[in-house]
Amino acid sequence: MKPKIIINPLILPLVIAVTFSAASYFAWFFRVPTYSESNEKAIKEVSAGNFKTAELEVNGVVCLGTSKTFAKWLNESSGILSIETFTSDRTVKVGYDGSKISADEMIMSIEREVSVDGEKLKPFSVMRYRETANSDWIVLRTNKKTEVDEL
């Protein structure tokens, strides 16, 4: 039995290479938030000048569960309006009321300690952040292991 069309065997590795490159590109291009929440009512009440956004790389946001914990953790601070987490690169987009909280205060709030079995730990640490999508990242630390990882 003869095939209708004969294919050069080299097509196979070519298809694999192209497919995997396209899949990687697709994943980077169409990022889907792992978890998102927003306080629409509060967003409407905030004046346009005070509504600010920050993008943070937060170590400790690794899955849906930690994303929810992070949102609860951050919502304990006032002025947080929206949170979107992306676990593929551990980034978080936060919308906040600039009149109630600044980026530095937000980072301090994220990095606050918690006591576990008498030991003080930082469940989340900010690796770097930027205040707009086009601004440069401000790097705070480079080691991507959290204190919780070390336990």
């Binding site: 294919i7 889907v32 593929s88």
Partner: protein
């Protein structure tokens, strides 16, 4: 062609190990599970239900799964022999084992039973993941144990399972891939009527059975006109080994 396949296997193996080392050193967020399409399979039902990525699975796993399915529909389970790092390790063990002594032929009924194990495993894993809302299989996953460099869920039992999974390959050619791999079982659902397959030209073939002897999946290539076996991983060992050039071809 086999040299190109080896380059592909080493390339993907190197990527996984590179990220595993970086992850363990705290220089990367990506580890072996970031590239695992089976993570997407495990959580597919959960994702359909909640429209959220459960546990550590993200869009990367899903886009890779789509890519793998596309490759499977076109070229059977080529992912297993060209990309999968665990498949590469299994092939290495198979070749090493075959170098020292030939594999004994197994009873057909026993093999049918063994083939069923991977489907049962797939069902159990997907169901357990769905009801627990977590990647419950991860501590027992041979891939995560082998390439996670002692990842956070790896325990002593994980290494025991990995050793036993690889031990199967000592008794059955590509034993783990053919009888235990749940991802292989999942891919088989898309491996029914693939676009491309290997064709044997009966007139050109002199039935030397070299193709049968080199086939890692023990497919009787010399007795088929076109290879429709779900075990075929398009490794092209038969095409490369064929003495009568042109009697084995990839075609549509």
């Amino acid at each position: 062609m086999q040299a190109i396949r080896l380059i592909f296997q080493l390339f993907f193996l190197e990527i996984i190990l590179y990220h595993a080392v970086l992850f363990s050193l705290g220089d990367s967020y990506k580890n072996c599970e970031s590239y695992c399409p089976f993570g997407a399979v495990e959580t597919l039902a959960l994702f359909a239900k909640s429209h959220k990525f459960p546990c550590a699975v993200n869009e990367f796993n899903y886009s890779i799964l789509i890519g793998v399915l596309l490759i499977t529909v076109l070229f059977k389970r080529a992912f297993c022999s060209w990309v999968c790092p665990l498949g590469a390790v299994n092939e290495l063990i198979t070749r090493a084992r075959a170098y020292f002594s030939k594999y004994a032929p197994l009873n057909e009924t026993a093999m049918k039973f063994m083939y069923g194990i991977k489907y049962a495993l797939l069902g159990i894993i997907v169901y357990a993941t769905y009801i627990n809302y977590d990647l419950v299989f991860r501590p027992y996953c041979p891939y995560f144990t082998a390439f996670g460099l002692h990842g956070h869920t790896t325990v002593v039992l994980s290494y025991f399972i990995l050793a036993n999974a690889l031990l199967v390959t000592f008794f059955i050619k590509m034993g783990f891939c053919r009888t235990l791999c749940p991802f292989g079982a999942f891919l088989n659902f898309f491996n029914v009527k693939t676009v491309c397959k290997i064709y044997r030209d009966e007139k050109a073939c002199d039935c030397c059975r070299l193709c049968d002897s080199v086939c890692l999946s023990e497919i009787k290539v010399s007795q088929s006109i076109k290879i429709e076996s779900r075990d075929c991983t398009m490794c092209l060992s038969c095409v490369s080994a064929c003495g009568k050039k042109g009697s084995l071809k990839i075609g549509i």
